[in-house]
């Protein structure tokens, strides 16, 4: 398969930035998963879709609105009523899910190229994200694994808390570079590393 070109490729420069003299509070990276797939269940078919996700990826989605699960190579979370996002390091997961989901169950939509995944981690991740998103990032309100749909002005974002101080932010590809600049600017006052 041909190599993919990320919208961040020309602007993502590894290094240390901001007030890193006082220590690094944040690590920014692009996770560039091979697959980003959206699933939607028809009313009453949510369990069937969750089972299909389990079958195709092995991920067991927990119960609850916005519930999710993350491993080092794949992740899944709910982001809207009866809608789920599945993310995998590997390419081609959309096809596998399409086979696992019957038309009576729901739909599968491949967004692997349509969304760009930015990971922000570190003790100051919450502080910086709170500059842009009006959601409660505290662990009680936003548990590990959970997903949220929100926005920063014109930029729609889905955010999964993939670890206690690690968030994966999915933005529309066309906005990715603009958001990256905004995010970096917000990180300036704390030291940050781009990896």
């Amino acid at each position: 398969m041909a190599e993919r070109l990320s919208p961040l490729e020309p602007v993502l420069r590894q290094g240390s930035y901001g007030q890193f003299e006082n220590g690094v509070g944040i690590i920014l990276s692009e996770t560039a998963p091979g697959s980003i797939v959206q699933l939607a269940a028809w009313p009453g078919q949510e369990k069937a879709i969750i089972a299909a996700i389990k079958k195709a990826t092995g991920l067991a989605l927990p119960d609850g609105a916005g519930g999710g699960v993350a491993s080092s190579t794949k992740a899944a979370f709910g982001f809207a009523p009866a809608k789920f996002m599945v993310v995998d390091e590997a390419e081609g997961v959309a096809e596998a899910l399409a086979k696992a989901v019957a038309p009576e169950g729901g739909t599968v939509t491949d967004l692997s190229h349509g969304r760009t995944a930015i990971r922000i981690s570190g003790p100051k991740a919450e502080w910086v994200l709170a500059k842009f998103f009006a959601i409660d990032f505290s662990l009680v309100a936003f548990p590990v694994g959970a997903g949220r749909s929100t926005m920063h002005h014109d930029i729609f974002a889905q955010i999964q808390r993939s670890a206690a101080d690690q968030y994966d932010v999915y933005v529309f590809r066309s906005f990715a570079r603009s958001f990256w600049h905004t995010l970096r600017r917000g990180c300036e006052e704390v030291g940050y590393e781009v990896r």
Binding site: A2, S6, A40, H113, A130, R173, S174, E189
Partner: protein, 998 residues
């Protein structure tokens, strides 16, 4: 040590001297000083000039309520005007200037305005400047002439023209309890809420936590109150569930317990850390709010009360106790309540000589008399100040006997020597935030103050905010509020800190004004006098809002913090009504002025995100001039060196029609419409039929709004039985998505359809022209692209450069054309492969201008024609209106107003004078360049048509179709372009479509 600096005491660091300048003169102060305290310590008495009369003014207060001492703070070329000197923390290198004076603060030429005082009383400008009714100055001219001078004289500080290089930020916060104010009440509330495990934010507008504890001079738990507060504040830091925000003004109480606060992150710093914002705009969603905002002192209204050296008693107490600064050497006091006696104590302790206390009340308690006697001050009960002496500094005060029951003065007036007069007219709880939250303030006749409306349930008051003015009450109420905010209750036996203070009577005498000869100021900054208030009364402007608007009372930068109640009281007296019957002002955000930059926050310098297509960098590398299309950046032309824009697009369009051209169409809205009812949904939203569309085929569709007006058009591709890809115009992508979602959620929830925005999933390139198919054949693998495999509106799947692509044969340009879609991350790769394959054929990339040119030649409509007022018929798209089914808009599109023959209809125009036409020009039947009239329509889009060799345009013209073949004129007085045109069909070029059908 400077003349007014006490030798000890205060919360300043005497070991650190800070150097700054005021009006160019070098000054010093200590770490912990405000600009006001440092200047007062240096013996400065003159701080500013008033708005209207340009009277000399000193500093009246010690905080955000300051009306007089406004300065401009400069950082390089960047000017921050109108900042109260009482709120500026000094730092090394601070540059501050006084305002509203020329040539200097001491000698201000506009002070001559004072002589015209009676002439320029409240509202004078409404009664004059109308000018003559006839002649050269009639109409608005005379007023505008006068206004020019008025505008120059008005205004306070000057805003700069240099862009502010600072950064501003926004911060979203969530908490269980937000506590506003860190005086004893706020600190206690924070401690008890945090102890209960709640997530707490404590906001304090000053740099130092502690509020009144810093200047009360009282003893709490056996130690100076300031130390007690510092200890408690330090203890709070040990909690990880509390965020303390000093230098943070909570200024707005919005719906849903959303509060807005301004944190001044670096205003006190000489140098900013990397990436540090100057201001941070906090938006705090708090489950509960504790309002511990204290109270603001009121001045007394009497002649000469604005002379430099006259100050609020509480402010002087604060300068003495918190900053170790003496407001004067020889001090007199004038009060209607007990608190001024504590000020006397503070001044005396700090080293001033307290001459006398004039109290309007006939009876003064023993406790207060003892305080006065300890301070060495004589108490003159039943006395009032009736005048002040001195020019730019106070020299003496005139006093007379006064009867507080009827306001009568008696006996001879005498003059007491003093360089400082401290006044207290009682205290007003700072209820601003509670008032913003809703409800009407309640007048408390005993406290002579408005108290907050009953809590709506989401905030709790504590301390002086409640009218509980003693420290002991503040401690108890703060403690109880902190517990109540976290759902528990204070108990009688809770172990609370003990405040040791001489108890006073919280109730002032009901005396607001001493009526004697001379100007008595109510609103110091706006120069509103007691006489102005009475003039408003005489002229019938008696409701509180009329009073404010007519006299401008309370409209200055301090928003009436010191003037509202005295003004109201004077009006009440004139009307012979109690104060609450005159009315209460509802407070509105902001509580104190807020920088515009903080509210723009991270959008300052970056107002809107940019949307870039997958091939964006390629376009830039190949010389594209970019064009903002909404948030998108799109190539306008790929200019060759030396070309004009017109030459570029003509070349691009011509080459496309002669050989081939390629354009980035990734910005087109793309919506995945999936599910067993997808076709049914499309039948309902499009005017034409989609359920009959075969898999692997595309169809052009038109959508109407519910009211029958055209909404959007585009092609929709059937990729599978249950799988459609809808395209929309770039501009309407979001609107169409919401339109569909609305119907799916609200009107037809029974349909099983999923809608997903896949605009960003696909990179799109449209390649068109006589050689387009040959180019594709040159690079597409795994599928043929000939007429059989890929007929008009057919779709095939194949690969280009190893990348899976989806190709649909459709045409916007009117040429044989194909849209090639691939995964966005492959966009540049596929685009480059197409360019490479096209090179032997002379393939050119083209931009929006050429795209526009070719669509005008073909008569296709876009945003300029789909302007939200046109119908399908107006645009000659009625052939798309299915009669076999209802669709959105079908019921309403035939209303007579949408079908009249004189509606604007789409036509083509051809320039008959071989000159360019322009969008926005109007069309007339008879040309009249001097007196343009009789517009029958307008040009929506225009270009030079390389295919026709003419300047052409699309236009919307009344009864357009019937005019085909007739002559008209473009009339464009704005751009002075007039000339003949022929009205023709909008299909200029290849009306039969033989080129695209091939």
């Amino acid at each position: 040590m400077s003349p007014r600096r006490a030798t000890s005491g205060g919360r300043i660091d005497r070991l650190r001297t800070i150097h700054f300048t005021f009006d160019g003169a070098p000054c010093t102060g200590h770490a912990g000083d405000t600009l006001a305290s440092a200047l007062l310590a240096s013996g400065v008495t003159l701080f500013g000039r008033s708005f209207k009369y340009h009277r000399p003014r000193g500093v009246l207060t010690a905080g955000i309520d300051e009306p007089n001492a406004l300065v401009t703070v400069l950082r390089g070329d960047v000017r921050e005007p109108n900042i109260p000197a009482t709120t500026v923390e000094i730092y090394d290198g601070l540059v501050a200037e006084s305002q509203n004076r020329f040539p200097s603060l001491a000698w201000d030429i506009s002070a001559i305005n004072q002589l015209a005082g009676k002439l320029i009383s409240a509202g004078f400008y409404y009664k004059t400047f109308m000018g003559p009714a006839i002649g050269p100055l009639k109409g608005t001219r005379f007023w505008m002439l006068c206004e020019r001078f008025i505008r120059r004289a008005a205004g306070l500080g000057r805003a700069g023209r240099a862009a502010d290089p600072s950064r501003y930020e926004r911060m979203n916060a969530f908490c269980d309890v937000l506590i506003v104010g860190s005086g004893p009440a706020g600190l206690m509330a924070a401690a008890s809420a945090a102890d209960n495990g709640a997530r707490v934010i404590l906001a304090e507008l000053d740099a130092r936590l502690g509020g009144s504890a810093n200047w009360s001079g009282e003893i709490i738990d056996g130690m100076p109150a300031a130390e007690w507060a510092a200890g408690l504040a330090e203890g709070l830091k040990a909690h990880n569930n509390i965020r303390v925000l000093p230098r943070t003004t909570v200024w707005g109480f919005y719906d849903g317990n959303t509060l807005a606060a301004l944190e001044r992150v670096t205003d006190h710093k000489e140098r900013l850390g990397k990436g540090e914002p100057r201001h941070r705009h906090w938006v705090i969603r708090a489950k509960k709010v504790v309002l511990a905002t204290g109270a603001l002192e009121r001045p007394m209204v009497f002649p000469g009360n604005d002379r430099p050296g006259v100050m609020l008693a509480g402010a002087a107490r604060r300068y003495a106790n918190e900053f170790g600064v003496l407001a004067g050497g020889k001090v007199a006091l004038f009060t209607n309540n007990d608190t001024a006696y504590h000020a006397a104590t503070a001044l005396q302790k700090a080293g001033a000589s307290v001459a006398a206390i004039f109290d309007v009340r006939a009876n003064v308690s023993d406790a207060m008399r003892n305080l006065a006697s300890d301070a060495g001050a004589e108490v003159h009960a039943g006395h009032a100040v009736v005048g002040t002496e001195g020019s730019r500094a106070l020299a003496g005060v005139k006093v007379q006997r006064f009867d507080s029951t009827n306001g009568a003065l008696s006996g001879e007036s005498r003059t007491v020597e003093a360089d400082c007069l401290l006044m207290s007219g009682g205290w007003s709880p700072a209820i601003h935030l509670a008032s913003q939250a809703g409800g009407k303030a309640q007048w408390d006749a005993e406290l002579q103050a408005f108290l907050a409306p009953q809590a709506a349930g989401n905030w709790i008051g504590a301390g002086a905010f409640n009218g509980s003015f003693s420290t002991a009450e503040a401690i108890a109420e703060g403690h109880a509020a902190g517990l109540a905010a976290t759902g528990s209750k204070a108990a009688a036996n809770d172990d609370l800190p003990v405040a040791d203070a001489v108890a006073g009577d919280p109730a002032p005498a009901s005396v607001f004004e001493i009526r004697a000869n001379g100007k008595s100021f109510v609103d110091f900054q706006h120069d509103v006098t007691a006489e102005d208030v009475r003039l408003a009364h005489r002229e019938g402007f008696v409701s509180v809002e009329h009073l404010k608007r007519y006299t401008t009372l309370g409209m200055a930068t301090d928003q009436g913090k010191t003037s509202n109640i005295p003004g109201l009281a004077i009006m009440a007296e004139a009307l012979g009504k109690p104060i609450p019957e005159v009315g209460t002002t509802r407070f509105r955000p902001p509580f104190a002025p807020v920088s515009v930059g903080s509210l723009a926050a991270e959008r300052y310098g970056d107002i809107r995100a940019e949307r870039l297509t997958p091939m964006h960098d390629w376009h830039l590398e190949h010389g594209a001039t970019m064009y903002a299309a909404g948030l998108w950046h799109r190539p306008m032309v790929y200019g060759d060196p030396g070309e004009t824009i017109e030459q570029s697009y003509v070349r691009e369009a011509k080459t496309t029609r002669e050989t081939a051209g390629i354009v980035d169409v990734s910005t087109l809205g793309k919506i995945a419409v999936q599910g067993p009812d997808a076709a049914e949904l499309l039948d309902r939203v499009y005017t034409n039929m989609f359920s009959t569309l075969a898999i692997g085929k595309a169809r052009y569709g038109l959508m109407l709004r519910e009211d029958g007006i055209a909404l959007d058009d585009g092609t929709t591709w059937r990729l599978g039985q249950n799988d459609f890809l809808m395209t929309t115009t770039t501009a309407n992508a979001g609107k169409v998505m919401q339109h569909l979602e609305y119907f799916l959620d609200l009107i037809w929830p029974e349909l099983k359809v999923t809608l997903t925005s896949v605009t960003d999933q696909w990179a799109g390139a449209a390649i068109g022209g006589p050689q387009a198919r040959a180019i594709l054949a040159n690079c597409v693998k795994e599928t043929p692209v000939d007429n059989t495999a890929l007929p008009f509106m057919g779709i095939v799947h194949g690969r280009i450069a190893g990348v899976p692509v989806m190709i649909c044969r459709l045409s916007f340009s009117g040429e044989m054309a194909f849209e090639v879609y691939c995964g966005a991350d492959y966009g540049t790769r596929v685009w480059q492969a197409l360019m490479d394959a096209g090179k032997p054929f002379g393939l050119v990339p083209y931009g929006l201008e050429a795209l526009g040119t070719m669509r005008i030649e073909k008569g296709h409509v876009t945003g300029a024609e789909l302007d939200g007022r046109t119908t399908a018929r107006d645009l000659h798209l009625d052939w798309m209106l299915s009669k076999k089914k209802p669709f959105i808009g079908s019921a309403m599109m035939d209303r007579n107003g949408l079908a009249t023959p004189d509606r604007l209809q789409l036509v083509g125009l051809v320039s008959l004078d071989s000159r360019a036409l322009s969008g926005g020009a109007h069309v007339v039947e008879e040309l009249d360049e001097q007196n343009p009239h009789g517009s029958i329509g307008h040009v929506t889009a225009a270009c030079y048509s390389p295919a026709l060799g003419k300047y052409i345009a699309l236009a919307l013209v009344k009864g357009g179709k019937a005019r085909h073949g007739s002559r008209a004129f473009v009339s464009d007085p704005l751009r002075k372009r007039f000339g003949p045109v022929e009205i023709v069909s909008h299909h200029f070029y290849d009306a039969e479509g033989s080129r695209m059908h091939g």
